[in-house]
Symmetry: C2
Subunit: 335 residues, 2 copies
Amino acid sequence: MSNRPPSMRDVARLAGVSLSTVSRVMRGVPGVSPVVRERVQSAADELSYVVSRNASGLVTGRTGRVAVIVPFLQPWFFGSVLAGISDTLRHADLDMLVHQVGELRGQRGWTRSLPLRRNSDAVITVSMDLSSEECERLDDVGVPLVLTGQKVPGRACVFIDDRQGAAKATRHLLNLGHTRVAYIGSTGGPWLSLSSRHRLEGYRAAMADAGLPEWSVLSSPGRRGGELAMGELLAEHHPPTAVLTEFDDMAMGAYRTLRRSGVPVPGAISLMGFDNHEVASVLDLTTVDQAPRAIGTAAAELTIGILNEDAPHRHVEMPTQLILRQSTSTVRERP
Amino acid sequence: MSNRPPSMRDVARLAGVSLSTVSRVMRGVPGVSPVVRERVQSAADELSYVVSRNASGLVTGRTGRVAVIVPFLQPWFFGSVLAGISDTLRHADLDMLVHQVGELRGQRGWTRSLPLRRNSDAVITVSMDLSSEECERLDDVGVPLVLTGQKVPGRACVFIDDRQGAAKATRHLLNLGHTRVAYIGSTGGPWLSLSSRHRLEGYRAAMADAGLPEWSVLSSPGRRGGELAMGELLAEHHPPTAVLTEFDDMAMGAYRTLRRSGVPVPGAISLMGFDNHEVASVLDLTTVDQAPRAIGTAAAELTIGILNEDAPHRHVEMPTQLILRQSTSTVRERP
DNA sequence: CTGTTAGCGCCTTCAA
DNA sequence: TTGAAGGCGCTAACAG
């Protein structure tokens, strides 16, 4: 509190050298004798001096910061991605600036309202499902843009193969002998529509391959949607024997309906989710893992690569993995 | 990509005014005629010009950024707190810098390894349970420090009354007629020990008030710990009829053990958590809400108040609230 | 109401 | 290997 923190000048004075020498030492560039380097270092330590990114950034044009844009911070998924990004950036000595834009979204020109330009070296979006217009707006910021959760030709992105993941999940149910396999998907969710579409397509393809009719119910995204959709399915004359949901959240809603209706899982209905939500294990829910933390790590690495101008590949596809638990089993025809 | 982004000079040239005029307009300070203001504004828009916080910060000594330190980003709780902080800071035109220090923790001097100094106007810690030594190290950064999740005399902090919350929860179980009420707590968790202690104390106090013996099992934090602890309790000759856990995560573990052991909830055992985890509702778990998002909001408001030097009160206690669901019921003696 | 001037702390020439 | 000078983009005094 009080006076300004020590500046490079203070360190220089204490070490008895010039500003440039201190600067060289702090940046770790060669061209300083070991003796002097040591002297400057201890002077800096004594004052607990830290280089101001503000000032150095003014000169170099780099801020040492990466902006991360997420729709919401609350859901488990985003926390995981951020965790991966954060750790990776720190090792590259970059800070993470987080912008939650869920509420802003929809306002025209929300990209402009963020103080991104000149305030970060790169922008990472997390499952924002950006339109190409929005992408271009972000390009306007003038720094590299890395997308996660969507695949856009010509742009750096990290994504999973939603289609394949959903197909894999569907096949798992089919292999268990189920033939009446329903799908609960979401609609109207503002930032997931692309991946929603792909997962639905994956389900459809797997069903078609097996020569079975598709049976999908679309509902509002989230737990409540799952609850309602499952209610609809149960009201049918011949309910399905297996249900795949677009993501675990919806599976949880579906699970709740099943529990309240006294329908045993997986006794009467096998239930499957997608995401490997942190509590899927609590419910023993069979699901598809998409390693959100690894997505964050990959996005950060891609970003660092681009900043160093040695970006090897700009499209990174992350693997999905079937997580088998107790909520699915071989088909048992109802009495 | 390419040339430097437009600077204030470019805007000034385009609008045909001087630098200071542009500066005044951008900062929204009075003393500019509406006509000129309008002209400058549209010039800025045309160039999609954004003020560089770097440069202005150099002059004002303010960075326009607040650093938030969290142990981990993954758990639901932290995401919620961050969500509250983020929205509140944005309205004050401050950016949020997030540092995840879980892995660093334990290394001596981890506070020094963060580039906080000169890079943020204030520091908010989230459930870090800092030692006074660590607090002092952070003071060294020279910016205001706001703590959440712990109460330290003389420091700005936002916290809940863990003792009271746990006592309230215990009394809820007692009021249902339970007399064999056990408590599952965590031990060894690096960043929750303070609140752990308080919750345990709250349980003990409520039991003592009712003239009942306490019955606590401490286990590792997290779901696994809850699983094991509940296993221990079930192995007893006369298991408890009600169990309070230190937090929902442990309750989920306990729930899993109960489900696998075929013990009906709340038929045989009433189960209660603490936190109101986002999936507590899926499990119909009775719990205590501590509104993490509101904690974040309060912390950010407190921070803004301190930065504006009009901080009214520096200790903010957040209320806790009993959330009644289906996992607790009146005692029914076992057959 | 508007423009001019002098730094903020640092990096990058260039010269010694 | 070291130092001196200039300027990065902006704000805060001033002067007009």
